[in-house]
């Protein structure tokens, strides 16, 4: 809990965390519209349950858990009627240079194939910069489980993107190889300084 958070009202804290909730929701649902609905549902739940939040405790973890629980609840209700596998390509539309677009598209596709808990963990750690402890608290699991989810997600993506022989995966291999060369160059330059 930061000093800033303790001086904010409950509602300010909700507004402040909305961008991160949207990312978590998109990571879980893989669908833009479903993600927006999930965030709204989670906010409604949080507003209804605000009396149960203990000031001074970890608000982000409390909020992420509410969203996650709502996702699981929705999933159970809609399992037979809703297709959450469909991810419009526009969801991951980027302004990346042409040579990176194919690799990013492949990454986006691979992300949709990960289990939801691994995808959520990877995004919360890599994109949010969340610690493993915070991830564990936000997702209601042990720290070791949180670490394992992130590790498995990384290695699964690596396996899919660098291990496959599909033509489009070559772009990912090329991007990673180029980065590896640049890292080597940087290290060599640093050694000479």
């Amino acid at each position: 809990m930061t000093a800033v958070a303790t001086t904010q009202t409950f509602h300010d804290q909700i507004i402040g965390i909305l961008p991160k909730l949207r990312i978590q929701a998109l990571a879980l649902t893989r669908n833009r519209a479903a993600a927006e609905d999930l965030v709204q549902d989670a906010v409604c739940n949080a507003l209804s349950a605000q009396q149960s939040f203990i000031p001074g405790t970890n608000f982000p973890a409390w909020m992420h858990r509410i969203l996650r629980n709502r996702f699981i609840s929705n999933l159970r209700k809609r399992r037979d009627t809703t297709d959450i596998e469909d991810v419009p390509s526009s969801v991951f539309a980027t302004e990346a240079p042409h040579e990176d677009r194919l690799a990013l598209k492949e990454l986006a596709n691979a992300m949709t194939r990960l289990p939801a808990d691994q995808r959520e963990a990877l995004v919360m750690v890599v994109v949010h910069g969340m610690s493993y402890e915070a991830l564990a608290e936000s997702t209601g699991c042990a720290v070791g489980t949180a670490k394992s989810r992130v590790f498995r997600a990384r290695r699964q993506l690596e396996s899919w993107l660098l291990g496959e022989t599909k033509e489009s995966a070559k772009a990912a291999r090329g991007a990673a190889a180029l980065l590896a060369r640049r890292l080597s160059d940087s290290e060599r330059d640093a050694d000479h300084v």
Partner: protein
Amino acid sequence: MPKGKSSPPADKGADPSAPAHMKRPRKSEAAFDIWLQRGLHEMYDKVASEPIPDELLKLIEEDRKR
């Protein structure tokens, strides 16, 4: 990120405290992790920076007034 907590190895392979099978010192894997980090930011940062829907903000503000 608070100091004293284990930092996720976003750009350096796996966590050093992880079990042996989870340690990934190879340079190619570190390069992939860096590329992955950049790719994920490319995909998700834009979503985070989009304006919050007015309907959602209104919902929160109405509750604040109660």
